[in-house]
């Protein structure tokens, strides 16, 4: 993987607040994010976090779930009452249930320790891009259910359900691709745009052409009904209507 991947302009100098009680990790994450052109503030607990939030306009918070005193879940829940600032939750627990709880209290994404730093970078970029695209009408924590053609995507659980109520598993790439389509239905999306959208999350260099990803997604969601239309020479278009609602 090449060192220092190019930084998209939309996130340059975004201000990230990192909250973790392990000062080693705190320093390392801060240094890593700074080297990737973010402005970084740090906090070791809830009080320091509150102070930082008052001092500066924060674009995104990376919050450790296990904090002394008030834990990350409480902090996130309290934060959500006053602010829509995006939150990425970090935890040492890999259990699915923690992820769901984390997302339910209003976190925008979740990363289990030990995380790959590049994955953190990708998630930060994705969350920033998504919240900037949908702000303010889809404030985090409210518009978590996306419906299309009888299907339902729960972005909290990252669970896709077909019209029969059967869960259809998606790979990370397919999920990101679907999210990109659901964000822009009836619009032609170029291969480059889609490539960027799926690459944002998966850290591995993606040799697979976007066409392979598209065909895999189609095989899973197109049962007797075309949803992803190929537009020759231009890219792809998601044809069903998309509605959003609270979970």
């Amino acid at each position: 993987m090449p060192d220092g991947s190019p930084v998209p302009s939309d996130r340059s100098m975004a201000k990230i607040l990192v909250v973790d009680d392990d000062s080693e990790i705190l320093g390392l994450v801060a240094r890593f994010l700074r080297s990737n052109a973010f402005e970084v503030l740090t906090a070791r607990n809830g009080a320091e976090m509150a102070a930082s939030l008052q001092q500066a306009r924060i674009d995104l918070i990376v919050l450790d779930l296990m904090l002394p005193g008030a834990n990350g879940l409480d902090l996130c829940r309290n934060l959500r009452r006053t602010s829509a600032v995006p939150v990425i939750m970090l935890t040492a627990k890999g259990d699915e249930i923690d992820r769901i709880i984390g997302l339910e209290v209003g976190a925008d994404d979740y990363l289990a320790k030990p995380f790959n730093p590049r994955e953190l970078l990708a998630r930060i970029s994705a969350v920033l891009r998504r919240t900037q695209a949908h702000a303010p009408d889809t404030a985090a924590g409210t518009q978590r259910l996306v419906r299309f053609a009888g299907w339902r995507l729960d972005t909290t659980k990252r669970e896709l359900t077909d019209p029969r109520g059967v869960i259809v598993d998606l790979s990370t790439g397919e999920y990101d691709l679907l999210i990109a389509f659901l964000d822009a239905p009836h619009r032609i999306l170029s291969r480059d745009f889609l490539m960027d959208a799926t690459r944002a999350r998966t850290q591995e260099a993606f040799d697979r052409s976007i066409d392979v990803q598209i065909s895999r997604l189609r095989r899973k969601i197109e049962v007797g009904q075309e949803m992803i239309k190929t537009v020759r020479g231009a890219g792809y278009m998601f044809t069903p209507d998309v509605t959003r609602g609270p979970a």
């Binding site: 080693e24 890593f32 249930i97 320790k113 030990p114 730093p117 259809v168 790979s171 397919e174």
Partner: protein, 454 residues
């Protein structure tokens, strides 16, 4: 029981149960006592009867002797004839008819002794008991010849009768009743004593060490109560031990995540991309090991709910990700296979199996087919397979079949163990076999409705 087993083994097999043993011992014991006392009683009874018989015979003979003595010689034979009756037949004669010795000599000699004792007057003039002179070979026919004071003889022929009445039926009946009683008492007794033991056996069989132990009730005889208490205490100790170990292992695995996170961040600062990549790979392997260990320790304790899941979509995700990573993986069969299940658990289970196939077999051919309310998934590879004798071990935790295998393949040998546990938790099965053309074949069968199937 096998043919040709030694008699000892056959007896042991017959007396395998506690009930059978108790019945055997009680039957032998009570039976022996019963028969000995029966024999003693009968012996005493027959002795008494013999004595009474001898006395009566002596009295009869004495009566005959006196009556015949009183008569003149001409009338004697007639009187003797009149007095005959029953087993006795009397004749008067000038000479004795009896001759000592002969086949029943011992017996008649004894009788003579007893008669003399019973009635001394009988032998005053002379008494001969012996075989009939005319028929000396018959041991049952004896002649008692009594000499009268005038030198003539009174001969009484005696048919020897058995003093013991035939009463075999009584013995048989009492013995049978005794045996039945013994069996009945033994069965009740054994049932009463062993009911707690059966509960122990059931509790011991159910005890897994990972689930909370089911205590046995502390009741019954004192020894059994003590055993129950000790058993329960042992269960608790084992459970605590397993819990403690599990928690310790989980805690270590869990705590290792923080240093690995730090290492990952530090590795990002390494300028040399080759070194950075190698360290990232090592860390990735450590992470997978921790992940598998925690998944194994968690076992079936999952928070995921059963929901309708399309298994083919799950398999497609796994196969897609693996082929993106450069593996040779194919997926064939049904386009959709819906079952009640836990999506993430199933993904982990099949992920482990398919990754194993790729890792040890070079490639994976996955096929899905629906058969009634069962979904069958086969995962075949082209590797060396697993020898039949190693198949159980392959499913055991922390077993890696080839110790020499390059550590770079990673893992603790938990992959198939976790997969099997998850399949079992879904009411399904996981079987290993070798393909005829070489390579391992993993066959998973899952019910479409695990709740209804279980």
């Amino acid at each position: 029981m096998s043919v040709g087993a030694p008699p000892g083994a056959r007896l042991r097999a017959l007396l395998d149960g506690l009930a059978a043993r108790t019945i055997f011992v009680v039957l032998i014991g009570i039976g022996a006592v019963h028969l000995i006392s029966l024999w003693t009683y009968r012996h005493a009874l027959s002795q008494q009867a013999e004595l009474a018989g001898d006395t009566r015979l002596a009295d009869q003979l004495l009566g005959m002797k006196r009556a015949v003595m009183r008569e003149p010689p001409a009338a004697r034979e007639a009187v003797a004839h009149d007095l005959s009756g029953g087993p006795l037949e009397a004749h008067w004669s000038q000479t004795e008819h009896a001759t000592p010795g002969g086949p029943g000599a011992g017996h008649w000699q004894g009788l003579a002794e007893r008669l003399r004792q019973a009635a001394p007057e009988l032998g005053e003039d002379g008494l001969v008991i012996g075989a009939n002179r005319r028929n000396p070979d018959d041991p049952h026919l004896a002649i008692i010849s009594m000499k009268l004071p005038d030198g003539t003889w009174l001969n009484v022929s005696l048919v020897s009768t058995s003093p013991h009445p035939a009463d075999g039926h009584g013995t048989l009946l009492s013995t049978t009743l005794m045996a039945l009683g013994a069996v009945l008492v033994s069965v009740v007794l054994v049932r009463w004593l062993t009911r707690p033991l059966t509960a122990f056996a059931a509790a011991a069989k159910d005890f897994s060490g990972s689930a909370a132990p089911v205590t046995v009730r502390e009741e019954g005889p004192r020894e059994v109560r003590a055993l129950a208490a000790a058993f329960n205490e042992m269960q608790r100790r084992i459970f605590r031990l397993v819990e403690d170990r599990t928690q310790a292992l989980a805690a270590v695995s869990h705590d290792l995540k923080t240093p690995i996170t730090r290492l990952r961040l530090r590795a990002e600062e390494i300028a040399d991309p080759t070194l950075r990549g190698a360290i990232a790979d090592d860390l990735g392997e450590m992470e997978r090991m921790l992940d598998q260990t925690l998944a194994y320790l968690r076992g079936e304790r999952t928070d995921e709910a059963m929901q309708p899941v399309d298994l083919v979509a799950v398999l497609a995700t796994i196969c897609g990700d693996l082929s993106d990573a450069g593996a040779v993986v194919t997926l064939e069969g049904n386009r959709s296979a819906v079952l009640e299940g836990r999506r993430l658990s199933l993904k982990r289970a099949f992920g482990n199996i398919i990754e194993n196939a790729v890792k040890y077999g070079g490639s994976a051919e996955v096929a899905v087919s629906g058969k009634g309310d069962t979904i069958e998934v086969t995962i075949a590879d082209r590797g060396p397979g697993i020898a039949p004798e190693d198949r159980d071990r392959a499913l055991a935790p922390f077993v890696r079949l080839e110790p020499s295998r390059n550590q770079a393949t990673g893992g603790f040998g938990l992959g198939l163990t976790i997969a099997k546990t998850i399949m079992t938790g879904h009411g399904g099965t996981l079987e290993l076999s070798n393909r005829a053309e070489g390579g391992l074949l993993v066959t998973v069968r899952l019910p479409t409705d695990a709740v209804a199937a279980s």
